[in-house]
Symmetry: C2
Subunit: 273 residues, 2 copies
Amino acid sequence: MENDTYPKIPANTINRYKHQATYDADFIHSVVNNTSVLHVSFVPDPSTALPIVLPMIGQLGLYLGNETIDEGAPSVYLHGYVSSRLMRLADEAVKRGEEGLPLCVAATKVDGFVLSLTPNSHNYNYRSAVLQGYATIVEDVGEKLWAMQLVTNSVVPDRYDNTRVPPDNAEMQSTRILKMKIKTASGKVREGVPEDERKDTKREDILDTVWTGVIPVYEKFGDPVPGPYNRVKKIPDHIGDFVKEQNKAREEYCTAATKKPAPLKRKKAGEDL
Amino acid sequence: MENDTYPKIPANTINRYKHQATYDADFIHSVVNNTSVLHVSFVPDPSTALPIVLPMIGQLGLYLGNETIDEGAPSVYLHGYVSSRLMRLADEAVKRGEEGLPLCVAATKVDGFVLSLTPNSHNYNYRSAVLQGYATIVEDVGEKLWAMQLVTNSVVPDRYDNTRVPPDNAEMQSTRILKMKIKTASGKVREGVPEDERKDTKREDILDTVWTGVIPVYEKFGDPVPGPYNRVKKIPDHIGDFVKEQNKAREEYCTAATKKPAPLKRKKAGEDL
């Protein structure tokens, strides 16, 4: 990574809708870290070229806790249903002297349905990131503990310290964290009002009958519901504040996105995304 | 597909958290058809086994409009950023005499954050589906037109007929629909209250200090925002009703999911999912 952008190489270069593409590291990291479920792809049997995709929870982070590890760039730490198959494939790749299991991580946030005059101009407002790299199982105990904390707090900030920690030996053994070193990454974003072609926007009959605009879309949190053995009467601030702040910020983002100028128009005006 | 379940073969058999797995076709189809963005994975260069994942809009459907096509089972129709690379790979696979490009389609709906006593027992309420198959480009004009309608109406029901249609020749040429014939499919679901281990639920000090419960999560639609060249004053029913009904149904689903018995408890009681 140089100058906070990912290198543009054939593997990650976006050729379609180029004006919506970005290689900005902050953007890509923000999409990954704010998406509640990541889609992780790998090839279980290289002779078939048939990939599988698993939903996982993950987070980008840079582990600084071990002086022997100094990578300078963040990795993606993945937790959740790290299947035994996935574990075995990662181990086998390392044993073969490879960097790890070839992996792709995708994160997408839908921000709105863009309804235009014709089906062809319909679109989504969205932010997406796709990262490729090589994955290994985290073996270093310090890094594993750090990653467990990172991933838990990615669901609800400060959650880790508000639970029964540290994990005991059995939990440390049974927890598996997958770490992907990033080789390529790219992002895409679409925001703004609908955008139709001139052949339609000049037709009065169509303008008079077809509603055009954007339905804002966001992931909303409902009021937290206490479980059957909960004894803590008041919803703790680390949960209550998070729900309130996120709902406000998310609704504001997608609503603001409905009103921005359309991407092609901005591009023609020479504006950056 | 037999008896409305997908066959359980090594490629799709879920070995971890088996009690949350399903091969029920209705469940799998419902997750795919109700997820606003699908994650589609393929291998651009088979010599690397490094997959890429693209966010796309898609829908399961069975095309009956052409007597020469009688497949008996639905396929996944995908639209959106069908890149020229993806097109080329699908064409090349067919030219080599293969069924199509090996593809994996994943759909995930997050329904809640399950906050338990320890980080290890934290979980999501969710529904997910993963489908594998072989993809080709839809060439048949009738099927293509039908699929464009299917995909447009999957975003907002009845939208297609409320826009300027049919697509003109240029639009038919530039629109590309990818069709995946399904070979394997599986689904997973988690719903219910938190579930901790006995070693923690018997500890008074932990029960007295750690809040446990579920934060409901759903994809919410905001009030539709008219675009700059919209002239239709009233938001049409096909949009307004959809927004209202979906928000109600989605909030109800994820809220109900927060209160259901925990999966392992139900499994021990011999209940099916």
